[in-house]
Symmetry: C2
Subunit: 311 residues, 2 copies
């Protein structure tokens, strides 16, 4: 059964009451000591040890957050830093999320020209051609973050022919949450900025690609640290799902994170708000013995704050 990727996020809100996305960004210091020790005993201080500890941590986190979030988002760089061992951990993490029915956002900010972008799509979504024509690999993620600097033919390879057959979507970087985002994104271009131009492209690429919830499968990354821009960008992209990083540890409040919401009454607010460190590292403030419980409670707090901000 084909389920449009925006409808999947919309259904998750109906089922869980949440627009939260849990960032699975494993860094050594965020992994609870007991899991670290066990992996070090088995593998020494190697990439394999990191990968084993990450999988143990992520599986516990997934059990803690299932039914309480709209999606999870592995930051691929955190895995890729450890090469093929890290990629194995990513594969096991995504597979475990899928088993639990959680939509996965592959946060890789991939981008390339058409034929090469197709390879990235194959890796993140449905698989690539084998030597004799079988379809092999493919993580089965629901969404992928992409960088739109290359224009339409760097985006189209990630999309199904039309909305009716769409099962995967992209979030295109529009306005990022980092301090130097303005080096290019805030430069004047036409009547607005480079980010405004990207927003217009995103709205165009998503035109006619809406699911039943009214949101398209071409989403946008709009950082929570820039609420005024988020409101302006919503006007330019009324039917776009915003992936909002920067909530919590990066400094954005719940009010900031929902600044780019769709108008009340439009159904889904059009937001998927990510938090990583605040959930993954919650045990650092509340004790490592119940690290999964600490993550769950941190997510519940975030869900409460977001719900209050949306009211």
């Amino acid at each position: 059964m084909t389920l449009h990727p925006a409808d999947r996020i919309d259904r998750a809100l109906a089922d869980t009451g949440s627009i939260a996305c849990v960032g699975l960004d494993p860094r050594p210091e965020l992994i609870p000591p007991a899991l670290r020790r066990a992996a070090l005993q088995r593998h020494g201080d190697t990439a394999a040890a990191f990968a084993e500890a990450v999988v143990a941590y992520n599986l516990g986190l997934l059990d803690a957050v299932v039914g309480r979030c709209a999606a999870v988002k592995p930051q691929v760089a955190c895995y890729e830093a450890y090469g093929s061992a890290g990629w194995r951990a990513l594969e096991e993490t995504v597979a475990a999320a899928r088993e639990r029915g959680i939509a996965v956002v592959f946060d890789g900010k991939r981008n390339d020209i058409g034929s090469t972008a197709t390879h990235y799509a194959q890796g993140a979504f449905g698989g690539a051609p084998g030597l004799d024509g079988a379809v092999v690999g493919g993580l089965g993620c629901a969404w992928l973050t992409v960088n739109g600097y290359l224009g339409a033919d760097g985006i189209e390879p990630f999309l199904a022919p039309d909305a009716a057959s769409s099962e995967h979507g992209v979030f295109v970087l529009v306005r990022t949450s980092n301090p130097s985002a303005g080096d290019l994104q805030d430069q004047a271009s036409g009547a607005g900025t480079v980010a405004d131009r990207m927003a217009a492209l995103v709205a165009g690429w998503g035109g006619g690609r809406r699911g039943g919830c009214g949101l398209s499968d071409v989403g946008a990354v709009v950082g929570a640290t820039w609420p005024e821009q988020a409101r302006a960008l919503r006007s330019a992209m009324p039917d776009t799902l915003f992936l909002v990083p920067g909530y919590g540890a990066q400094g954005g409040s719940a009010a900031d994170a929902v600044a780019g919401r769709r108008s009340v009454g439009a159904g889904h607010p059009g937001l998927l708000v990510n938090s990583s460190r605040q959930i993954l590292g919650a045990w650092q403030q509340h004790g490592a013995d119940d690290w999964a419980g600490a993550a769950r409670r941190a997510l519940d707090v975030m869900n409460g704050e977001l719900a209050a901000a949306l009211r």
Copy 2:
């Protein structure tokens, strides 16, 4: 011994007479039938079979091109499409290139905010922190392609503190070779275009980061399909090494590929010209029995054409 990454490319020109970069972009149909059959017999039609055939092919290619090119450039998407198995093939390929003394350009067009960009740098260059503080993994590539849409703090994590300690460089996408590159890159911004603005950023980021050859470790990707733009971009980036894709199979001629050269007499022409399919797939026109010889001869032809165009 620290060797600035631009000086490494300059030394390769002195040693080999070549400014060519051989793109290692494995696709099933480019792998010679005998290698495909052997891998299928051992592994069936799986990602593991693809990976084994790719490693066999790449190792033969590296032996064929060593001493005849300035660098090799694995297109990471082609490996990543096959998940951790593809990443193992990438690791073996890069290790084999390093054993042969060939500089490797990791073509991943990576990009993210600062702390996350650091992870990408760790994976492509020198390794990441293990669970107990050891440095693990790290491909040991010399260069990495990056997308500069996030501005300075998405670039700096890839760079050493200064030119004297630099061993790794980046190529920032400025003007790409794909048909829709102009969707954003050709849009007006200030006195020029978005690509011009990116060029100014690249020149600024590379300021004071030159090696002995006069080129900085912040390079630029400038597609061979746009020679007039390449000439204009050279004025904006006089000390920048251009990575030029689009030569050969993508339609750019040798004259197009060298359009963005530095002025004659400046030493290194400031160009690293990539060809992938024309070299990897040369056996398809000249017979699969001597696929390595076909690749070597195709590279020799390319080197001759580039040398003539530079004269």
